[in-house]
Amino acid sequence: MKPAPFVHHAPRTVDEATSVLADVGHDGKVLAGGQSLVPMLNMRLATPAHLVDLDRVAGLDGVEVTADHVRVGALVRHADLERHEQAYAALPLLRQALRHVAHPVIRNRGTTVGSIAHADAAGEMPSVLALCDGVVEVASATGAREIPWHDFFLGPLETSLAPEELAVAVRFGRLPAGTGTAFVERARRHGDYALAGVGAAVTVADGTVTRARLTFVSVTDVPTVLDVTGPFAGREQSSVDWSGAAELVAAAVTPEGDIHATAEYRRMLAVELSRIALAEAAARSAAPGSGRGAA
């Protein structure tokens, strides 16, 4: 299994990269960490004539933490974001989720932006972008634009990025004070794609729940945020029974079955993992430095 021939482009700047992408149009593909693209090339599921390799593009490897967001450049590897202490302090959910993205060896090369651009419903980071109300920053030869997550993910492996566009960064929005988060999943082996996964963010003010939201991995075909605040609003955090979210979750998701798990089993996992994730997130919301329990 070898890739078909292609022309390799090694731009040094974002402008050079976008001008190549503009020239080659539909015949081109961006190569970031290659951890999803190269397997597809090796199996000849994709045969682009031009690859625009980001490896040497300057200025894409930064992580910036501001009062509003964590901004992650297109060359930031999963492993580097996972280790980034400031990003962890600002948004513990990032590390909580990254620990589930493949094996460490894959995380060493794979980029967080690449995994969002790849838009695999079995990937963790697209769902995290959704739960954090994130934005994708895009550049092209004709200008720049920003795409909110809900306009970005169109379908399985499908986004609103045009072939001549480069995602230069994503911004994960920081969650309100008093928010705890958790990310739980079940896979047959740690590091494998999840049979099902759930991210949760629970906000507590003065001991009572003000907001509870969920997102899913391998359960919905595009990243989705499910607001389950309803039955819990105003309730004392410490006395909440989160299994009360079961009906909402069961009604909201229509997972697909495959060789790894039936649709019914996935739905069951989604319900059970939601309960666990909400409880974990709520427990962390109460802790000082919200969301920061053991990742």
Binding site: F6, D27, A49, L51, H103, N108, H190, G191
Partner: protein
């Protein structure tokens, strides 16, 4: 894809492998794993699946484990690669190699280069793993022969050997 068929171009690629700059003229689509094996004759790096799952092709890229079947040689240009050949020689084996030999951490040896590179980098960051941590550290590498028990043992033994080697080095300094 549409468009004209691509005419294969040859590129000059130089990668620092085990500390030595190595050069070959290869097509852009040459995988780093094939570059190492076919162009440089370093057949220690094994190739199992070519889609990132088995781990046999794992090398260190700038010191970090990476699947060489998922990196193009041309991308590795200007980066440093360590293959299993760079971890030690038959006469002077590295601690991880010695531990695998002592603990029978291999049978056919097909997966072994990937384990050795992965474990070498892992122990740099986590010099004293527990048994569970050792198991998780190798979870990205597949072995069809050993049942993993001896590999887990090898990881723990390698940690001991590293520590002993460091103690010796410190004793030697004073």
């Amino acid at each position: 894809m549409s468009g004209d068929p691509v005419v294969e171009e040859l590129l000059d690629v130089t990668v620092t492998v085990n500390g030595v700059p190595r050069h070959a003229r290869v097509p852009a689509r040459r995988l780093l794993s094939d570059f190492l094996r076919h162009d440089l004759g370093l057949t220690g790096t094994h190739v199992g699946c070519e889609h990132g799952v088995c781990g046999a092709c794992t090398v260190l890229l700038d010191g970090r484990p990476a699947r060489s079947c998922l990196v193009f040689a041309v991308t590795a240009q200007a980066h440093a690669v360590t293959t299993v050949e760079g971890l030690g020689t038959r006469e002077a084996m590295g601690p991880v190699q010695r531990a695998f030999a002592e603990c029978h951490g291999l049978q056919c040896g097909f997966c072994t280069p990937g384990f050795l590179t992965t474990v070498t980098a892992y122990l740099e960051e986590h010099p004293h793993p527990t048994q569970d941590e050792a198991r998780e550290a190798i979870s990205g590498n597949l072995c069809r022969c050993t049942g993993y028990q001896n590999i887990v043992r090898s990881v723990l033994r390698a940690a001991e050997l590293r520590e002993a080697a460091e103690a010796d080095a410190t004793a030697g300094d004073s």
